[in-house]
């Protein structure tokens, strides 16, 4: 027997790290097989695919892809239209079409992660169930899944997938689903930041055949609906997903009728190969090098605390290696543990819209990408760690990777993709209780879809423009939400001042909600997010970061009395609310994460969604642009002078050019006075250390040390049959 050997990850060569940690490190379990989650992006071709390979010329392929994408987008729209959950209606969902062997050939707009993960359950079914006589696979089968470890996202994201057969031969797979918001976890709405293990997160369904012959099994459906607080909502949304899968299948089969099964099968495969080839060609055009960034989370579970995540992006020839070595250890509390497959899917949110801007999205874009993550919070090995909100750690991967990738992209022909990150100081909240119509609610508003955009290399970020995980998603308006949820807004669509990232180009301002609970005696709530203390809305190339923001609740408030009296004391901004405190009641300022709190009729809740980071030096911002920001109420005259060095005249209606030049000269001189040799800076900076309570989950400071047992993480993982439990 070989003796155990402890290895320090920091000392390993990159390729060794890829070999040992370039895969999910969790152990297999019932319905869970890490091996299927890190297979090649494109499996060996089927006979059907081979039969027509080479018959599709570029125009055939282009037209076929056009049709494929139309079918997928239609599926996404139908899912939005038919669903009841607020987030699904807002488009926080994914639709995908896969090859017969489970490789993603086309994906919808919406949340980038979803379809990119669903190869997992498809490949699990193919590997373990097809030949199992107790399960099998047939035309009309319907599979449900939500377990993040199996290829879901959150536990509260629910999905269906369905095989597509043509003349008895497996042709393709379709899948659809998204943020359901209620999954029978210990608190309403799904996210439970206070949990200790995954067993408190509600349903964990690995691919489960819930229907045959295109119909749900009543017993399975009732089991699922009986496990959640909102059976009516969940049942409607199950039907919506089924309708989408059936529709996708019908459209694919119509194309088979027109063009033949081999044509369609080859087209699906070809689409992945084309994306892979284009991705490699794009990467080859960038400068070889190593691009680095370090980012942090400021909450873990419901605790304050720093989590570190360094990102190294290695560009070698036509390949990228994302190295996440040096991250904080697996904390084993809270639901924020990430697995390798979700970390890779998260990288798409950083890379697809920027580095791969303009290329068609499919799993093929991952072909030239390797991701390695030693055991830590970003590739948690423990089976019982909570992963229901692993994507919250995935967000840090997105931010860090984007910052690193922008350094690569800037000096390239694709500079138009250079941007500071979208705001990610998300504060997402879920409510459970009685609605104003006497109905049962469990879910939250989709206002995270209106965060501020990061500044671009040549443009300001747009205000309240979207959600970093998703493309083309809606943020419902105040009326739509006041119809769904029992509250009224005191203010919402009014931009805050001095919160966006400043720079030569500034970030966009995100929404801030302030609402009064109205029409219900009380609601229970959970919330998650980051960036209450330590902002994650980073600036780029000298741009300032977007502000951190707290969660505020005023309990026992007199807000409704003030409204009835038409009082002028009601605040119209967070600053006014917090500084003047004209609403009476108990003010609670906290970080983003909470669980099981109660808010009552008349309580006031404030949630901010975060603002984009800035780009470049503030002193290079066009003074007229600063003037416009002041006029629009997003920059105060004080900040204009103090940070931008822009002096306004004539009551703030024009720029005083001379005074501005003088002020900017003064600021530059001050900068020079503050300048020191680098070694001097490092010497002083290295003496600093956050307070111990902030480092409880951090690992060794400043850089967590990762030591592993050589035998536990071999370079050649043992093949796993996945049948250990049978």
């Amino acid at each position: 027997m070989t003796a155990a050997r402890t290895l320090d990850v920091a000392g390993m060569a990159l390729d060794e790290r890829v070999a040992r940690f370039g895969r999910p490190l969790m152990k297999p379990g019932p319905g869970l097989d890490p091996e299927v989650l890190h297979r090649e992006v494109l499996e060996e071709p089927t006979e059907l695919e081979l039969a027509a390979e080479g018959r599709l010329d570029p125009v055939d392929l282009e037209i076929f892809l056009h049709k494929l994408d139309s079918i997928i987008d239609d599926g996404r729209d139908v899912c939005k239209y038919l669903s009841m959950a607020e987030m699904l209606q807002a488009g926080d969902l994914g639709v995908g079409i896969f090859t017969a062997k489970g490789d993603l050939a086309g994906m919808s707009t919406g949340v980038i992660l979803h379809a990119l993960l669903h190869y997992g359950p498809v490949k699990y079914v193919l590997k373990h169930y097809v030949d199992d006589p107790t399960v099998g696979l047939a035309d009309g089968d319907i599979f449900f899944f939500n377990d993040p470890d199996a290829g879901g996202v959150h536990t509260y994201d629910h999905f269906l997938m369905m095989p597509v057969f043509s003349d008895g031969e497996l042709l393709a797979w379709v899948a659809c689903g998204g943020h359901q918001g209620e999954t029978g976890s210990r608190s309403p709405g799904g996210w439970s930041p206070e949990i200790g293990t995954r067993y408190e997160e509600g349903l964990h369904i690995t691919p489960l055949r819930v229907g045959t012959d295109f119909r749900f099994h009543t017993d399975h459906l009732e089991f699922l609906l009986n496990s959640v607080r909102t059976p009516r909502q969940n049942s409607l949304d199950m039907k919506a997903r089924l309708a989408v899968c059936v529709r996708l299948r019908q459209q694919l089969l119509r194309e088979v009728e027109r063009r033949g099964a081999a044509f369609v099968a080859a087209g699906l495969r070809q689409s992945i190969k084309a994306s892979a080839a284009l991705a490699r060609r794009r990467i080859a055009g960038f400068n070889d090098g190593v691009y680095r960034s370090v980012v942090f989370l400021d909450t873990i579970g419901i605790d304050d605390g720093l989590i570190r995540l360094p990102v190294e992006l290695h560009k070698r020839g036509d390949e990228l290696v994302i190295d996440l070595a040096g991250a904080s250890p697996e904390p084993r509390i809270g639901p924020f543990h990430l697995r390798w497959h979700l970390a890779r899917a998260a990288s798409a949110a950083a890379l697809f819209p920027t580095v791969f801007r303009g290329l068609r999205w499919s799993i093929g874009l991952f072909d030239p990408i390797k991701l390695t993550a030693p055991p830590s919070i970003v590739n948690a090995p423990s089976r019982d760690s909570g992963t229901g909100s692993g994507s919250h750690t995935g967000r840090v991967v997105v931010q860090g990777l984007l910052l690193a990738a922008m350094r690569m992209l800037h000096d390239s022909p694709h500079r138009a993709g250079v941007t500071a990150p979208f705001a990610e100081n998300l504060l997402l909240i879920q409510f459970g209780g009685a609605g104003q119509y006497g109905n049962q609610i469990a879910g939250g508003p989709a206002n995270g879809n209106a965060t501020g955009q990061g500044a671009r290399f040549d443009l300001d970020g747009e205000h309240s423009a979207g959600f970093f995980w998703a493309m083309v998603v809606d943020c419902p308006g105040p009326e739509e939400q006041e119809r769904k949820f029992p509250w009224v807004y005191l203010f919402r669509n009014r931009f805050d001042r001095d919160v966006c990232g400043l720079g030569r180009y500034r970030g966009g301002v995100g929404l801030t909600d302030c609402f009064v609970i109205h029409g219900t005696p009380e609601l229970r709530s959970n919330s998650v997010g980051t960036g209450s203390r330590f902002t994650k809305n980073y600036g780029l190339f000298g741009g300032y970061s977007g502000a951190a923001q707290p969660r505020i609740i005023i309990r026992g408030s007199n807000a409704k009395e003030l409204m009835a009296a038409g009082s002028r004391d009601l605040p119209m901004s967070v600053r006014e609310l917090a500084d003047r405190r004209r609403i009476s009641g108990d003010y609670a300022f906290g970080h983003t994460n909470s669980e099981g709190e109660t808010v009552r009729d008349g309580d006031v809740v404030v949630l901010a969604r975060g603002c984009g980071g800035g780009y470049g030096d503030v002193l290079e911002r066009d003074p007229d642009a600063v003037l416009a920001d002041v006029a629009d109420g997003i920059t105060s005259p004080e900040v204009a002078v103090r940070l931008y060095g822009v002096v306004l005249a004539a009551g703030g209606s024009r720029v005083d050019a001379e005074a501005t030049e003088a002020r900017r000269t003064e600021i530059r001189a001050e900068r020079k006075r503050q300048g020191r040799p680098y070694s001097e800076f490092v010497a002083e900076w290295s003496q600093r250390r956050p307070p111990p309570e902030a480092l409880r989950h951090y690992g060794e400071f400043p850089a967590p040390v990762q030591k592993i047992d050589d035998r536990q993480y071999p370079t050649e993982p043992a093949a796993d049959s996945g049948a250990w439990h049978r």
Binding site: I63, L82, Q251, P353, R357, E462, C475, R494, A631, G633
Partner: protein, 743 residues
């Protein structure tokens, strides 16, 4: 069909109908049952010049003095796109917005993704380069007033009169010329908005302020969603002055010409109405909607219950649907310019694809066609006007579909050499293929993309495209129609003579119509039983009928000549999206009637989204009531009685059975000998270069039929008949392209 020929006499109104397009103004004139068309260049400085010229030409073609035509007309109707320029060039008046305090940035946030609205798909997914349009109302002119109403319409906070006075004072000082008012939940309870209007009227009479209209969102667009409601109100204010002035000038001009009868405008929500009952927003895009109305009439004439219109011009490809003879398919979430609006706009989808669409290679070497267009200047390379980029028209010339010497009847010779050179430099050489192959790829790609758009509007809307007939319009339409149809899974195509004047014909077919909407949530089924909310239902419908009675009386129609149709936007409990239903009952007399409405809704829902998607367990709700009141009069109902055909025309059906082939053969043999034709080499996708017969379409006899490959040339277009397709000309000069199976 809209034949320009004088077409037999019959009783009926004398009508002067006009479509004012971007380039041409077309007239369709009916005098004493005789019809003629006229055409003029659009006169942008004063649109009435072109309009009067086009009417004059048509009148003269009927042997009538234009002055007599104006005097004899029972109505003058027109569609136009005037007002669009005010939007694009931002030449409208300074508009101020009064809204609920704390929500002043709603029109900017615009549901967060407004940067993508109204933009082509490739821009929509390019989030990194997202850019919103400039605000129509800048932040400094958006003023909040303290007030709050909740989702039940209950007042939680009274309206602050002081805030209103301060807001108006601020806006007036800023020089606004119109005020839009949009307060939260005003569609449920408009009291606060009305109070604002009253305060402005009281404190700022016209004598003080000059004319400064105050538009209330609860009147302009009484529906949920403050963003769309605000924008619809703002756009109405923004576009009003240009439009109103234009209509006033036109009315004066017509009266000076001796016209004493009503002037009616076509609207994008369907039908025509007097200008006083029309907002400026209704005029945008009314031309294509008129064309769709004409297509609906033609569909009824031919007994077609599924028609898709495909209009391919130089820069855009427009698609509309006619289902069961009805053109009233609403755009799901209409966008005007770059803003989503609350308007029941008749669906007419447009993508950037046309003869002028530019073919190019991406930086990774993939061929793309459009959406950028060479327009009319410089135009395609073959126009020899300086255009160096290859276009679809250039590909058509290179492949032989367009004869360079007979373009526009020979009025505009084209350069095949320049077309070849552009394709060679930009496409063929970089890809290492020959020019013909490059041209073929360009043509196949644009046909595929356009076919896909039709597929999207049919198959993905729950229809089977194989049930549809495509009406192909536009200069570039018939050249590509059959190929597009192939990609769209459509097997029958109709091409019309003078298709470019179809919109004007469509205006002629439009009757007076008014549409009224009210947002009210009424539950008809609670998941277990039909509810007793019939009183609430009926009360809303009756209030809408009262409005219809008032307006129709003012238009000169008694209710006995008015048809009422109730449309309901409905959903299952908890859904936000609604599905439109033409209600089987106008008023509900009991639970049986409620059940009938619910049954009809389930049926419509299942047809759109599949049987498995219906969910009555969640409850069935009406979310919005829409009453459409139509009056017959001032309109054509189809072909003139006693015109070319006495019998109801029948289209030649596609199919393989012998009787149909016999029918066509019989038609041919009955018309005498095969007409003369020339031959030229045309390179057909899938078949390569083929010596192809080319017919002069004008010289073909009724009933003529030919198998593809063939070309039918006319002055304004060429009909391409690919291999596997058959062309048949009927007695109304409609050319039918049919195939047994699309490829």
């Amino acid at each position: 069909m809209p034949s320009a020929e004088a077409a037999g006499a019959s009783a009926g109104p004398s009508l002067l109908d006009v479509d004012i397009g971007g380039t041409f103004t077309d007239a369709f004139v009916v005098l004493d049952g005789r019809r003629a068309t006229g055409k003029s260049l659009t006169t942008h400085a004063d649109l009435s010049d072109g309009m009067i010229a086009a009417i004059g030409e048509a009148a003269r073609r009927l042997g009538c003095d234009p002055a007599d035509a104006f005097a004899a007309a029972d109505a003058v109707k027109y569609s136009t796109t005037v007002g669009t320029n005010a939007l694009i060039e931002r030449t409208g008046p300074k508009v101020g917005l009064i809204t609920t305090a704390g929500q002043e940035d709603t029109v900017h946030v615009a549901r967060s993704r407004s940067w993508a609205d109204g933009m082509p798909l490739e821009v929509q997914i390019d989030r990194t380069r997202a850019q919103r349009p400039d605000d129509l109302v800048p932040r400094s002119l958006r003023v909040g007033v303290r007030e709050r109403i909740d989702c039940f319409g209950e007042v939680l906070m009274p309206l602050s009169t002081d805030d209103v006075l301060a807001a108006v004072d601020h806006l007036v000082r800023q020089g606004v010329r119109a005020i839009a008012v949009c307060l939260a939940w005003s569609f449920m309870n408009p009291a606060h908005e009305r109070q604002v209007a009253e305060i402005v009227r009281r404190e700022y009479p016209d004598s003080v302020l000059g004319r400064c209209p105050v538009l209330l969102s609860s009147e302009v667009a009484p529906r949920l969603d403050e963003y769309r409601r605000s924008i619809t109100t703002i756009l109405s204010a923004f576009l009003a002055p240009d439009t109103e002035q234009h209509v006033i000038d036109l009315g004066d001009r017509l009266r000076a010409l001796g016209c004493r009868k009503p002037l009616l405008v076509a609207r994008n929500i369907g039908g025509v109405a007097s200008p006083s009952r029309t907002t400026a927003l209704h005029l945008l895009g009314s031309g294509p909607v008129a064309g769709l109305a004409g297509a609906a009439v033609a569909a009824r004439d031919y007994g077609l219950d599924r028609v898709i219109t495909a209009d391919m011009g130089g820069t855009s490809f427009d698609v509309g649907l006619v289902i069961d003879g009805q053109d009233r398919n609403y755009e799901f979430d209409p966008v005007i310019d770059r803003w989503r609006v609350h308007l029941p706009v008749i669906a007419n989808y447009s993508i950037g694809a046309g003869g002028g669409s530019i073919a190019h290679l991406t930086d990774t070497g993939e061929l793309r066609v459009g959406p950028r267009s060479a327009g009319s200047m410089p135009g395609p390379a073959c126009y020899s006007q300086g255009g160096a980029e290859p276009t679809v028209t250039d590909a058509d010339v290179v492949l032989g579909f367009i004869d360079p010497d007979r373009f526009l009847g020979g009025a505009m010779p084209l350069s095949r050499r320049r077309a070849e050179r552009a394709l060679a430099r930009r496409i063929a050489d970089p890809l290492g293929i020959d020019v013909a192959e490059a041209a073929l790829r360009v043509r196949r790609l644009i046909d595929g993309v356009m076919g896909q758009e039709i597929y999207r509007q049919t198959a993905l809307e729950g229809h089977d495209p194989r049930d549809f007939t495509m009406f192909a319009f536009g200069g570039a339409g018939p050249v590509h129609a059959a190929a597009i149809a192939g990609y769209a899974d459509v097997h029958t195509v109709a091409t019309f003579p003078h298709g470019s004047e179809f919109n004007a014909y469509g205006v002629a077919t439009m009757g007076v119509m008014q549409t009224y909407e009210r947002t009210r949530m009424v539950q008809l089924f609670d998941g277990e039983a039909h509810t007793d909310e019939t009183d609430a239902f009926n009360s809303v419908v009756r209030s809408l009928i009262e409005l219809a009675e008032r307006d129709m009386a003012e238009e000169g129609f008694g209710m006995d000549s008015v048809t009422l149709r109730l449309e309901l936007d409905m959903n299952y409990g908890g859904q936000h999206h609604t599905v439109r239903l033409e209600s089987p009952r106008l008023l509900l007399e009991g639970s049986d009637d409620a059940a009938a409405v619910c049954d009809a809704f389930n049926e419509v829902f299942a047809a759109a989204y599949g049987e498995g998607s219906i969910h009555p367990y969640g409850g069935i709700l009406v979310q919005l009531f829409r009453l459409v009141a139509g009056a017959s009069g001032y309109q054509l109902s189809g072909r003139a009685n006693g015109a070319r055909s006495a019998a109801k025309p029948e289209r030649p059906a596609s199919g393989a059975d012998g009787s149909e082939k016999d029918h066509r053969a019989g038609a041919l043999s009955g018309r005498g000998e095969q007409p003369g034709h020339t031959v030229r080499e045309v390179c057909w996708p899938g078949a390569g270069p083929v010596e192809t017969p080319v017919y002069d379409r004008a010289a073909l006899a009724d009933g003529f039929s030919a198998e593809g490959p063939a070309l039918m040339e006319d002055v304004d277009t060429t009909v391409a008949v690919p291999p596997g397709w058959t062309y048949t000309l009927d007695e109304h000069r409609t050319g039918w392209l049919t195939t047994e199976a699309a490829t």
